[in-house]
């Protein structure tokens, strides 16, 4: 049972937007999403926030420019759950800007054995590579890797951190840290994804190389060709689509539609049965992203990165088909886990408990996050799903992933559990809506009890109510492809929700499609209010 309400908007601002030649429907939708002027809707490349406002970005550019000049051996270290785009943008970009193929490589730690971020285990792996890397560049991770970064130094390797995760109070001892979320950084878009941070470093590096006289504005490499990957990474990482991210996504989609993208990205469109010429954010989030990330969930991310680095269409298609197959396997595992989770829940009514907390010996670590997300959606309460894992000393552990509902800060809740019972959670991290943690298998019931205790203290009845926030009614004359095309041509996504309308219909026909979905024939009912008072209604005079 949901509470339905319309997303509020100022009709004054809608009028201002409309007077700037914006379609009246879009004016109302944008006004409801906090857009105040038509200018804010300009999503050209030159409206991007400048790199020099991103703290240490120029410093990182100097370090990289020197490293390329001095032929230092570079190694990009990706995190297991970073989507492959950040790593691929780093490798492709640095090569475009002068790093030789021999000079640069990447490493993706095994998610099941090496833990989070740049750990000493990862450094042990890096230091024996031949040739040995001298500068490690983290993408989408590293901000919490204090121990690993010191350990790298002891072994003669410098570290440059590019990340977007929230830092701890004490920053790690890296050569430079580029992260819009560090305390002194005045970069206005805190929502920049890991791939976006890497892209900014490349833009700054290009400017540094221009200044050193290596390129001119005419001869410089076209880093803009990487924007398709930046768009994909931004959407797939569910970064909030503030204006800067909307610019990155919009510019990336524009290039994908023109076919300016690595063959691997276009091949993913092909295996997903989507047409890149009309690519939209929905394709990136629901068709392309899941296929690219499938290998990372079940095994390791390298296959996804290999695809994005591939320059030949035929191999790109082959790798894409393999990823598509792995993605189908992922779906089977996921739905099996979901079924067993639901079966688990039948003996107790989920409505009676403040949160869901489940584990099963057969569940797969790589899919716990997705299953937690589905259960959270279904029962509208925080959910943590665990799968078995093994500690370095052979101890039976559970690795879990949680998803939360609006208004309940999951990481803070775990923090509270761990303050009350310091030995209960081995490690945890995350943010308001999602978090990851590791506990001992023997502690599961203890954890469940403590977590439920904290949840019932923090959750209110009000938060548990399911809400459906919509954008009001459409006029009958808006039910056409022209309107749906206008809507689908805009950039919507996380933090800038896709329009959801509300209305009353006569259901003329209904039938089942593949025994799973309802297919409907509908006739909009026109309320008197819509017909006469609604500001966007129109009448046809006969």
């Amino acid at each position: 049972m949901s509470i339905f309400s319309q997303r509020p908007y100022s009709s004054e601002i809608a009028k201002i937007l409309e007077s700037g030649e914006l379609h009246p429907l879009l004016a109302r939708l944008y006004a409801a999403r906090g857009v105040n002027s038509v200018d804010e809707l300009q999503l050209d490349f030159n409206h991007l926030l400048p790199p020099n406002t991103l703290l240490h970005c120029e410093n990182a550019a100097k370090i990289l420019a020197d490293a390329i000049r001095d032929q230092r051996q570079l190694l990009i270290v990706a995190d297991y759950d970073c989507d492959a785009t950040a790593c691929a943008v780093g490798i492709r970009g640095l090569k475009m800007l002068g790093a030789s193929s021999k000079q640069i490589d990447f490493l993706v730690p095994n998610r099941f054995t090496m833990g989070y971020g740049l750990t000493p285990e990862v450094i042990d792996l890096a230091k024996v590579l031949s040739p040995k890397p001298s500068l490690l560049i983290t993408v989408d991770n590293g901000i919490a890797s204090h121990v690993g970064i010191n350990y790298a130094k002891e072994h003669g390797m410098d570290v440059l951190v590019t990340d977007h995760h929230l830092p701890t109070e004490q920053l790690p001892n890296a050569l430079a840290i580029v992260n819009p979320n560090q305390a002194q950084c005045r970069f206005q878009s805190k929502a920049l994804a890991g791939v976006g941070v890497m892209f900014y470093v490349l833009i700054a590096l290009r400017a540094e190389l221009r200044q050193r006289g290596i390129f001119t504005s005419e001869t410089q490499p076209k880093l803009e060709q990487l924007l398709g990957l930046v768009a994909l990474g931004t959407v797939a990482d569910v970064a909030q689509l503030d204006r800067n991210n909307r610019i990155l996504v919009s510019q990336g989609l524009k290039r994908i539609r023109q076919g300016i993208a690595p063959p691997g990205l276009l091949a993913l469109f092909e295996v997903a049965g989507r047409n890149p010429e009309i690519a939209n954010p929905f394709d990136l989030g629901f068709a392309i992203g899941p296929r690219l990330n499938a290998a990372g969930r079940l095994a390791d991310m390298s296959l996804g990165i290999k695809l994005l680095l591939c320059d030949d269409s035929k191999s790109a298609l082959e790798i894409s088909q393999e990823l598509d197959r792995i993605n189908r396997e992922r779906r089977v595992i996921e739905s099996g886990m979901q079924e067993s989770a639901l079966a688990h829940l039948t003996d107790r009514d989920p409505d009676d408990r403040p949160a869901l907390c489940l584990w099963n010996a057969n569940w797969h670590q790589g899919v716990v996050g997705i299953v937690a997300s589905r259960l959270k959606e279904r029962f509208n309460r925080p959910a943590i799903i665990f799968a078995p894992a093994e500690g370095s000393n052979g101890e039976a552990l559970l690795r879990g992933s949680g998803r939360s509902i609006a208004g309940f800060h999951l990481r803070d809740a775990l923090d509270l559990v761990s303050k009350r019972k310091p030995s209960l959670i081995q490690k945890f991290g995350g943010h308001a809506m999602a978090a990851g943690l590791t506990i001992r298998q023997v502690d599961f019931e203890d954890f469940e009890e403590s977590f439920f205790q904290v949840t019932s203290e923090l959750l209110t009845e009000d938060l548990l109510k399911r809400r459906c926030i919509h954008d009001g009614e459409l006029r009958p004359e808006d039910f056409n492809v022209k309107t749906s095309d206008i809507l689908m041509n805009e950039i919507w996504g996380h933090g800038f929700p896709e329009p959801l309308f509300y209305g009353e219909f006569d259901v003329l026909q209904q039938s089942l499609m593949k025994d799973k979905h309802l297919r409907l024939q509908l006739k909009p009912r026109v309320s008197d209010e819509t017909a006469s008072h609604h500001p966007f209604s129109a009448r046809r005079l006969v």
């Binding site: 004359e477 095309d485 219909f505 259901v507 309802l518 509908l522 005079l541 006969v542």
Partner: protein
């Protein structure tokens, strides 16, 4: 003078729902373009039924 509105019929899909809808229903939906071969038509992707009276 008489007011008359042309009210079109539209197709709708509700994914992963098999339960029938009432004959009159208040729905929350997304408006999408459905392209099949050269043909394009509008489609409602239903997300929720408001069953409170």
């Amino acid at each position: 003078m008489r007011l008359l509105r042309i009210i079109p019929l539209v197709q709708g899909v509700w994914f992963n729902r098999t339960q029938e809808l009432p004959q009159q229903a208040r729905l929350a939906y997304r408006l999408v373009s459905d392209r099949f071969r050269a043909e394009a038509r509008v489609q409602l992707m239903i997300e929720a039924l408001d069953d409170q009276s």
